[in-house]
């Protein structure tokens, strides 16, 4: 009896508040966010087209073994990156309107997939950097010392390498913490 009185009194008190943006404001925010997400989706496709297209044009303009090898390796890299990404994300898509229990399960799988994705990203970076160094040494006249101090290697290796390593450590920590939180939650939420 008392419990019913409590909950009813709390309910009235709780529902008396109506702070926060209204439906119209939320609709505008959704429209803005949808536009932003659509633009963000173009990014990876654009990078694929620009880099892949550039190697193809180069191979077409001067079809020597070096340029053909570069184009083939680049498109192979692009294919592996896209397919690898899809493979890592397999089984992590579920309707947004799942129940909380199902949502916790899928969130755990997404965290695990993100951690696998980080390893994949690191491996892909090392492989691609090694190929670029090999290709430059093999098909250009510059020596090793000159190569590792050239600006593309400084940007792609000396700057991007530590930046990527930092990102992998930071993001990996965040995802592992999120995973621990979700696993704890699943344990405590078990019926």
């Amino acid at each position: 009896m008392n419990a019913k009185v409590d909950i009813e009194a709390w309910r009235q008190l709780w529902q008396a508040s109506a702070d926060g943006p209204g439906a119209a404001d939320l609709r505008d925010r959704v429209a803005r966010e949808t536009r932003r997400q659509n633009i963000a989706m173009i990014g990876p496709v654009l990078v694929t087209i620009v880099i892949g297209g550039w190697t193809l044009l180069r191979a077409n303009a001067s079809p020597g073994f070096d340029n053909v090898l570069l184009a083939v390796e680049t498109w192979l890299f692009i294919a592996v990156a896209w397919l690898g990404g899809l493979w890592i994300d397999r089984g992590t898509w579920r309707p947004l309107s799942d129940s909380t229990s199902a949502f916790i399960d899928i969130s755990i799988r997404r965290c695990e997939a993100a951690l696998r994705g980080l390893k994949f990203l690191a491996v892909m970076y090392v492989v691609q950097l090694a190929f670029i160094l090999f290709w430059k040494l093999q098909f250009s006249s510059i020596g090793f010392a000159e190569l590792i101090t050239s600006w593309p290697v400084i940007v792609l290796g000396w700057i991007a390498g530590p930046a990527l390593a930092g990102f992998v450590v930071w993001y990996g920590r965040a995802k592992r913490a999120e995973l621990r939180y979700l696993l704890d939650l699943r344990r405590s939420a078990l019926p």
Binding site: L13, Q15, G20, R27, V30, P95
Partner: protein, 182 residues
């Protein structure tokens, strides 16, 4: 003929889009205050709450085309909202209960003494709800919004008897927290 066909097709598209936007608007208009209260019980500030609300609205926008009426629209809406709140917590790893001092109070100043006292009571209730462990917080916030045991079970993906257990525990804890405050 071809032009007619295209024009009919475009009209159908425009009509279905308008109907979809209308459905989205109706869904949000009915429960925007409830969603704001729910988001407020998972966030530290008004700007955080608004970001979470945007996240919820975005998820509803994406999920709505696939909604085929397997449950009530309210259940559908609160499922998405609870999931987004949970994702918000897990990403920010807010495990420490929020104190009363953390609450960002943005309400306009009440005018009468009764209103002031009511407002203080409401803040105490929100602060106490925020202190609840997640599984009890989920159950009590939905119950305070007037969802039935059946709807709660559908949103949380647990049995109705389990809902009862969680709500009882949540009520006891909430009462304790409120008594500590008073």
């Amino acid at each position: 003929m071809a032009v007619d066909s295209i024009s009919t097709h475009l009209n159908v598209d425009a009509t279905s889009r308008a109907a979809f936007e209308d459905r989205f608007r109706t869904l949000l208009e009915g429960d925007a205050p409830a969603l704001a209260r729910l988001a407020a019980s998972y966030t530290r500030s008004a700007s955080d709450r608004d970001d979470l609300l945007q996240d919820i609205a975005m998820a509803v926008w994406k999920a709505l085309p696939r909604f085929r009426g397997e449950c009530s629209e309210r259940t559908f809406l609160f499922r998405i909202a609870q999931n987004r709140c949970l994702a918000h917590l897990s990403k920010r790893r807010i495990t420490v209960p929020l104190d009363d001092e953390d609450i960002d109070r943005e309400d306009p100043a009440p005018t009468t003494e009764h209103q002031i006292s009511l407002e203080q009571e409401r803040h105490r209730l929100v602060a106490a709800v925020r202190r609840l462990p997640l599984i009890y917080r989920q159950a009590i916030t939905l119950s305070l919004e007037g969802l039935s045991y059946k709807e709660l079970a559908e949103v949380l993906g647990i049995s109705e008897s389990n809902v009862g257990v969680r709500l009882n525990r949540a009520r006891t804890l909430l009462k304790t927290f409120l008594e500590e405050h008073s």
